[in-house]
């Protein structure tokens, strides 16, 4: 603490971003951003994907270098050329995708880059003492010998946070920290953040969940297309205003009609079990039915078997045991090709891995998995025309079928896949994380199309970690926890808190 602060004098802001500008090729990621973060505040940074939040924070943490502009820390101009510089300035970062070495122990992860000498013994001893203090002060106990990759996600995040705390970071940047947490875990994280703030830490929270912003932040800054739209004290703003600032217009989110007729069961799953890529049981005795004109939502924290369930149903992963029936067909061992013939289509969770060949042009991607024509030859002009029409119908921009699929934004890639699969007129659509990394405008579009399909009598299995999405679209909701169905709810008879308890395996 400086003398000035003891005297109650005005402190300089913890961080000033002064006209930070950054381009990646044609993309202008940060446009002369001018932003001050006050010492001891929780400052939320919101914006759509690609708005420039992560770029700005990567510049602060020395991952990227700004093309122009400067960063002032405590009023002094800083020189941050690498993460080690940022660490020396007391900046700590909790990355959305944790920067952890999974096969190593918690202690080794915390020591990395901060070993305290050639031999590890001394540094390890000091670290354990420091962990004891932190465990007492912040209720952040952890087993230092545990292997990080074997810890649940919530604890992995704790390790990531502890990396900053053992280095005595004053400024903490958290990038989408609640994306992997249950609502209950998120509440505990927020309590911790308030505690850290009370002890004088400055916190920058990157998020796209406006409800969280309203709940925890002191001030919020909105970025759009690389530029700062504005900074607002929380008391003087509200969710709708922030959403409008984020996207530059108002978006009407579609609502599910309550009255859709529900037909006979289309898909029946009984006691289905499957293993994950490492050979461990990931799906355990899962049973459910799905009817025509119904959206069945499957909620759960990422990594609780939803991915494996979806892949098993989509014919991408062998099942261990159990029955899967589509009308009267046994499809437990069916290949994707067999499923296509029955009118079952799949929108994969990982669009770049299973959905698209990002190096291929869009029109070729539109042919992949399309029903085989009589001719083995491709009619190139016709295929390009079809792709252009489809892109028009599904609002894929820019409307140029010759572009590489990888050149599209996440939202447009997703709309492309959605269009391709829907145009095959499915009876059953298996959908995984349809709006992950997708901007709000595209989310509204995708939700509209899914609800249209439901109205047409298509059965939809929707797997998502976004509870908002699950609650808005689903007729019924199943919650997965550790590979099992932890509970079933009807739409309108549940809420985020109730589902959160099921997701945590408590209820």
């Amino acid at each position: 603490m400086s003398v000035r602060s003891e005297l109650g004098g005005a402190l300089p802001p913890a961080i000033i971003f002064d006209r930070i500008d950054k381009r990646f090729g044609a993309v202008h990621a940060n446009r002369a951003i001018q932003l001050a973060i006050a010492r001891g505040e929780i400052h939320a940074l919101v914006g759509e994907n690609g708005a420039g939040k992560s770029t700005l924070m990567s510049i602060l943490f020395g991952f990227y270098r700004a093309d122009s502009g400067r960063i002032l820390i405590d009023g002094q101009e800083s020189r941050i050329a690498s993460p080690s510089d940022a660490i020396a300035y007391g900046i700590g970062m909790v990355h959305q995708h944790f920067m952890l070495v999974e096969p190593m122990s918690v202690a080794d992860n915390l020591l990395l880059g901060h070993e305290g000498g050639f031999a590890l013994g001394g540094g390890r001893k000091a670290l354990l003492a420091r962990l004891d203090v932190l465990a007492r002060d912040y209720d952040l106990a952890i087993d230092p010998d545990a292997i990080v990759g074997e810890l649940p996600v919530g604890l992995q995040q704790r390790v990531e946070l502890l990396k900053s705390l053992v280095r005595d970071a004053d400024i903490l940047v958290l990038d989408e920290p609640t994306a992997v947490l249950t609502p209950g875990e998120a509440d505990r994280l927020f309590a911790l953040l308030r505690d850290l703030k009370a002890r004088g830490k400055t916190i920058i929270l990157i998020t796209h969940k406006l409800r969280e912003v309203m709940a925890i932040a002191d001030r919020v800054s909105v970025l759009r297309q690389g530029a700062l739209v504005g900074t607002y004290p929380i008391a003087q703003t509200h969710e709708a205003a922030l959403a409008a600032a984020m996207i530059g217009r108002r978006v009407q989110m579609p609502q599910r009609a309550d009255d859709a007729p529900i037909d006979t069961p289309l898909l029946t799953v009984q006691n289905l079990s499957a293993r994950d890529a490492r050979g461990r049981i990931a799906v355990m005795d899962v049973s459910f039915t799905l009817r025509r004109g119904e959206i069945l939502g499957i909620a759960g924290v990422a990594g609780n078997g939803q991915t494996e369930l979806l892949e098993t149903l989509a014919g991408l992963r062998p099942h261990e045991r159990g029955i899967v029936r589509f009308t009267h067909h046994d499809i437990a061992d069916a290949s994707p090709d067999d499923l296509h013939a029955l009118g079952i289509r799949h929108i994969p969770e990982d669009r770049l891995r299973y959905g698209l060949v990002s190096q291929f042009p869009i029109w070729e991607n539109c042919l992949i998995g399309a029903d085989a024509e009589e001719s083995a030859l491709i009619d190139r002009p016709a295929a390009i025309d079809d792709a252009a029409w489809m892109m028009q119908a599904y609002d894929v921009r820019p409307n140029n079928p010759l572009l590489r699929a990888g050149a599209l934004s996440g939202g447009n890639q997703q709309k492309l896949i959605l269009g391709r699969e829907i145009e095959q007129k499915p009876q059953l659509l298996l959908v995984g994380q349809p709006t992950r990394g997708v901007d709000i405008g595209a989310i509204a579009f995708i939700h509209h199309r899914l609800l249209d399909l439901r109205a047409q009598g298509v059965a939809i299995l929707l797997i998502s970690v976004e509870l908002d999405e699950i609650l808005r679209l689903s007729d019924r909701i199943l919650v997965m926890h550790q590979g099992r169905i932890a509970g079933e709810r009807r739409a309108g008879e549940t809420d985020e808190r109730d589902l959160g308890l099921l997701m945590a395996g408590i209820a």
Binding site: I87, M99, G113
Partner: protein, 301 residues
């Protein structure tokens, strides 16, 4: 088989395993840091050649060892430059290294010695002296290298960072350590160890250099590395097992087995390689390599 014969097999098995141990440790350091090294063979070969040339010219084995380390490290740095600085394909760079070494040693050998690529026989101080039980100082050095590798990986800053670099390079970068320096460090270590491996071949086990004298041992070392799941002590035991097998194979030459008769020499010589395939294919659990091995590190975007 009497006790004396058994002792002889163990002695010669240990001796034969020494180059494998060095090469296997070289691969271990390289791959733990995230650089796949299929150029072990080439580095050993060029080291064996450099050792023979230097020892022949100076008459001093230890100068031969130094020359081997120098040549092998140079080749390793070439691999490092291709795969770390230029972010090239590590497999292709390794293959190129092996071809370069094969061609270069044959060419230079012919130019220098004019004996079809082989060096003149070395003797006296130009060879590594036997200390006891058929072992040279290289055996002691190899066992020390195993001990030091195991210790360094588990207990030192460098070891910790190398392990992390091979699993999640972004985490190392993010923790404020230089990934480039770490990986170059590991590649240089691999070069030095391959240097010892090559020198052992041409100055210890043989009395001079022969074209292609490594005979695939660099690849056997890679197989041993996988079988040992990238751990130092298991690597030692695996290489020792291969060495013993080699020794048994040599012993079996000319021996007539009851019911089968004399086994062709080629079949016996093929045994260790056959064993390698069987070992890798069947008798092991899942071997998970360092996750980032083989992938050049590029920051996002």
């Amino acid at each position: 088989m009497d006790a004396l014969a058994l002792l002889q097999i163990i002695e010669s098995g240990l001796r034969l395993s020494v180059p494998l141990i060095f090469a296997c440790l070289a691969g271990l350091w390289s791959e733990k840091s995230g650089i796949v090294d299929i150029g072990l063979e080439g580095k050993m070969l060029i080291a064996a050649f450099a050792a023979a040339v230097a020892a022949f010219l100076t008459g001093q084995a230890w100068i031969g060892v130094l020359a081997a380390v120098f040549a092998s490290t140079l080749l390793g740095l070439l691999h490092g430059f291709a795969s770390i600085s230029q972010r090239g394909n590590q497999i292709i760079s390794g293959v190129a290294l092996n071809m370069l070494a094969a061609g270069l040693t044959a060419l230079l050998g012919n130019v220098i010695f004019k004996q079809g690529g082989r060096s003149p026989p070395l003797d006296g101080a130009a060879r590594l002296p036997e200390l006891a039980l058929g072992q040279s100082a290289m055996t002691i050095l190899a066992i020390s290298a195993v001990l030091l590798t195991a210790l360094a990986l588990a207990r030192t800053r460098f070891g910790l960072r190398v392990r992390a670099a091979g699993e999640n390079p972004a985490a190392v970068d993010n923790a404020g350590a230089s990934l480039t320096r770490l990986r170059y460090g590991a590649v240089i270590l691999a070069g030095i160890l391959c240097g010892f491996a090559g020198a052992t071949l041409s100055l210890g086990q043989a009395a001079g250099f022969l074209p292609m004298m490594t005979a695939g041992q660099g690849f056997v070392a890679l197989a041993a590395l996988i079988f040992a799941k990238w751990r130092a002590w298991p690597a030692f035991w695996t290489c020792l097992l291969f060495g013993l097998l080699d020794a048994v194979a040599i012993r079996l030459q000319g021996v007539s087995l009851p019911g089968i008769g004399a086994i062709p020499v080629q079949a016996i010589q093929a045994l260790p390689y056959l064993f390698t395939i069987v070992l890798l294919a069947g008798f092991m659990g899942r071997a998970v390599p360092p996750r980032a091995a083989g992938q050049p590190y590029v920051k996002e975007r």
